[in-house]
Amino acid sequence: MKDSELSDLFATPARFDDTEAFEGRVMRGLQVKLWMRQWLVVLAGFVGGLYALAQFVRLPEWTSGGKVAYAETFHKAAVDTDNTLRVGIEFVDVARQSFGNLLNQSGQYLTFMQTPVFFWLSFSLCLAFLGLYYAYSQEETL
């Protein structure tokens, strides 16, 4: 037997019954990877946005429950029912206050996010992610 004949043997792939299943598996894996990457970006954007919001938007003297704000808003909405823009803005205001109250009530997150501890925590977390990403990309180098 010659080397060239052996080369021919090596060049001949085996037959697999599950070719289509394998193809589906690869494409699904690819889809999941892309999906996870996209959602990681979305999540990072959301966390970053929230942090930026917490840094720049200060809401002093929040009241839990926000009864006064609700009553005032609904009163104005009732008076000016035809002013849709105003009602919309007030609705957003209510939503903002509700969201703020929710955050305030559930552990003073926004207050915490404005502290230096949170900054260093998120900063080191970002650095860790970047480090991991770099290590992973080095590992995948062809």
């Binding site: 037997m1 080397d3 052996l6 080369s7 043997l9 090596f10 060049a11 001949t12 792939p13 085996a14 037959r15 697999f16 070719t19 394998f22 193809e23 598996r25 690869v26 494409m27 894996g29 690819l30 990877k33 995948e140 062809l142």
Partner: protein
Amino acid sequence: MAPISEKRDLPRLGDVDIVRLCLTNDRQAFAELVRRHGATLRTHLRRMGAQGADADDMAQEAFMICHEHLGEYRFDGPFAGWLKKIASRRYLKKVRGNAKYLFTDDMSAFEPEAVTPDNGFKAHNLDAALGRLRPVERLCVTLNFSGDLSHQEIADELKIPLGTVKSHIKRALDQLKAILSPSPEMKPAILETGS
């Protein structure tokens, strides 16, 4: 952007054209590459010594890495060869991590029964014959013949001396030829007419 009519004829296109389509984020084109080279890659990994499910996992990983780094393909050689190199490095990395015994000198606990011209073992196909080789010989000969790596490249990848690689390949080739060559004592069957 490729015209739609071209997409419908994916099986007729060459690898280079399909890779170019993949670079435009054409998922169907990449599926065609998987369809076209899936069996080759799975076979290559099995011949290197990977077990069935492991080989398929690594083939899948290789395709995903390939998709990620498709822009780095220089079109200077067969696409299948580039794909095999990715898969080979993936497998070698795993072997180095999990099976360090592969590259040690004392392989007696892991070696199959030695093949000699005297014991007359014959295999029907290459895969069965490769199963009779020492793992490191099998790895070297497969990387050389199937992975198209030069002796020096294999030595670099496996981090073993060039001379050792050459002797592994020579011994593996001798054994494969002994196993796969038709037996000299096999004579053509004589049909009896019965008259």
